[in-house]
Subunit: 214 residues, 4 copies
């Protein structure tokens, strides 16, 4: 079996993207008898989805995990749901900033992640990695890619599992612009390793509250 | 035309619910030639939706706005999307705390609000009322009711418009348990009046970014 | 007896200062048999203290309460301690931004407020006004004035009582730059009335925890 | 030359204290030709200061850095000022929770850190360690010890330099009680090494804003 893990190039004025730095450490790794292949995607609407689809066709993975930077978050957060909207507060890397445009004009309103997100969070915590479920992936390129991924997997009949994981800033990013939480690269890589292993070995997700009141 | 505005009874150990206090001030009010009717709903899964449906059948409103308390938020936040999941971190008022159960087992994954949420936020801000779009209504009874409302409106062919608005704590709640943002009852009522008027008079929503990066 | 209440002119790009708006509502008011006199101060280091001293000499108040805007705070916060340092992150209204300069080169490191800050918080809360003690007034013009006030009162032998109260943004400020907590002008005025009354009528402060762990 | 670095035992229901874990890694280390000696202190008012004084007399260090856990902070934060007050929101490890009692009844209101806190922050950031100056060490045992340390150093004529550094939770603490920022032990140790080296080699502190508006 193969696992595809993707990361974006830097955006929003940053010179690094923690997702990209983290997945580089996972390239070629064998986890639960499966090979990890990585793919760098452009932080550009539509082009990110096109590049992801090509990688899926080429690599034919059983599991796809897209990873993205979530500035301001303090934990590794597997996302629960992707919504069919682009509402960009800042420009993407080619200057697009759509407001309230659908990602897929005839697509469903939303897709659930098909990864065992609760189990991922549980095992990360057991291993000392700060983690929580997130109930919104935002409305920028991360949600855009997540929706595009789940739409593609749905069209194919959901024979592959996939989803999106947001990760915090790296300490080096925060030491340049103080006042934000961060997580060490080692801890992020450890969390993603666990997420991959759980995705490959867990048939049914566990019962763990990951809800919010509002 | 008629407008139905709903609020919940107090929950989570609170003795008041700002939504209920606010809608009481709106009962019988005429806004944009329409009469406002209010309805108190139980903070109980399923029962909240049943009571809402009964009120819709009885009153036959053109617009339905459900209002709920969002402890910790500092602005009035019209919600963008309701998702088909119950994942209760705390118990509702009858002791239910489902984890990852669908609200409607054969329902869509999510519904958009059919209210002009961007215009509501724009006009509230123009009138000095702090407001922002929210991209997650949580996974508790508020989202549950919001989903149930949009499902009902969809089944009926979307001849009525509807959605959900979260409001902050009242100052009196916060003065009992310090360290949280609050909003005066007058300001909340003013914001809801504006929301109702905009809902009744706006055909097409405006272009205003209400997105988040993550 | 007379009470002097001061507020600053707008700073940091704002067109209003909630402190100034609030104290205008208190001008000439009789509270606990005392007359409230107000004074607008420039948001400029040194000049703020000079103008305050002049007002004290002219009015000869028994109680002085300096009020200032605390953007980002959600409650009315009487300050506990003023420290002898200027470390301005932004420029004041005449372009000064000193780093680590003492306010009074031969002054004490810090002064305590001589207002009954715990009782003020207690009575505000009893009256539904969100309030907490603050343990840092920052290092900008607010702390500068607070230190200058306490230094002056000390030199005079502490025959007058005085201190500083920080207040949140107004809703109108937040509706122009969303994502911050605010408090209605009425609530701020109500809180300051209570603070003045408590300052005039309370000999000994009460035992109420206002501490922080760090 | 010798450097004394202290940490507290766990408190507030935690089973570890990151300060203690971090300083254990520094024991016996040679930094800038000086030997690091560590000392574990009880999280108990008065007893913490007594134990610190004994360690100072025994070890005779040129520099003393007290380290403490600051739950909720996301950076390493050298403290600027210690204030002469105990106002404990929670009990210390022997059940004391004084409200508004002075630490030293005849002591100064406050003491500045005599460490080069701005330079420490600057060099930590240059090395990718998230850091900021803090303007309040709280009113619990951390501030208590910090005040006791500076009082002792003052009495001795300030022939030694000293101060206090707050550090975030460890990831393992946060993975047990989610929703808080954390920092890896390696990063904390790296930050403290830098702080020690800067303290030993910097005569005059640098000009770097570490102020807050309020």
């Amino acid at each position: 079996m193969k696992v595809l893990v993707t990361g974006f190039d830097p955006f929003g004025g940053e010179s690094v993207n923690p997702a990209l730095e983290a997945i580089k450490k996972l390239d070629g790794r064998i986890i639960a008898d499966s090979v990890v292949t990585i793919c760098e995607l452009p932080t550009v609407r539509r082009k990110a989805i096109v590049a992801l689809r090509e990688a899926i066709f080429k690599i034919d993975p059983a599991v796809i995990i897209a990873v993205g930077q979530a500035g301001g978050r303090m934990e590794i957060t597997p996302e629960r749901v992707a919504i069919n909207i682009d509402d960009f507060r800042i420009k993407d890397n080619e200057g697009n900033n759509p407001i309230d445009e659908p990602i897929e004009p005839f697509g469903l309103t939303a897709y659930w992640s098909t990864l065992p997100i609760k189990k991922m969070v549980e095992v990360m915590r057991e291993n000392g990695v700060p983690a929580s479920v997130s109930n919104s992936a935002g409305t920028f390129v991360c949600n855009h890619l997540f929706y595009g991924l789940m739409h593609q997997l749905c069209i194919e009949g959901n024979k592959r599992r996939g989803g999106f994981i947001h990760i915090p800033y790296l300490p080096e990013q925060v030491s340049r612009s103080p006042g934000q939480p961060s997580m060490s690269l080692d801890m992020i890589v450890r969390g993603l390793e666990i997420a991959i292993e759980v995705a490959l070995t867990t048939a049914e997700d566990c019962q763990l509250t990951g809800g919010t009141i509002c």
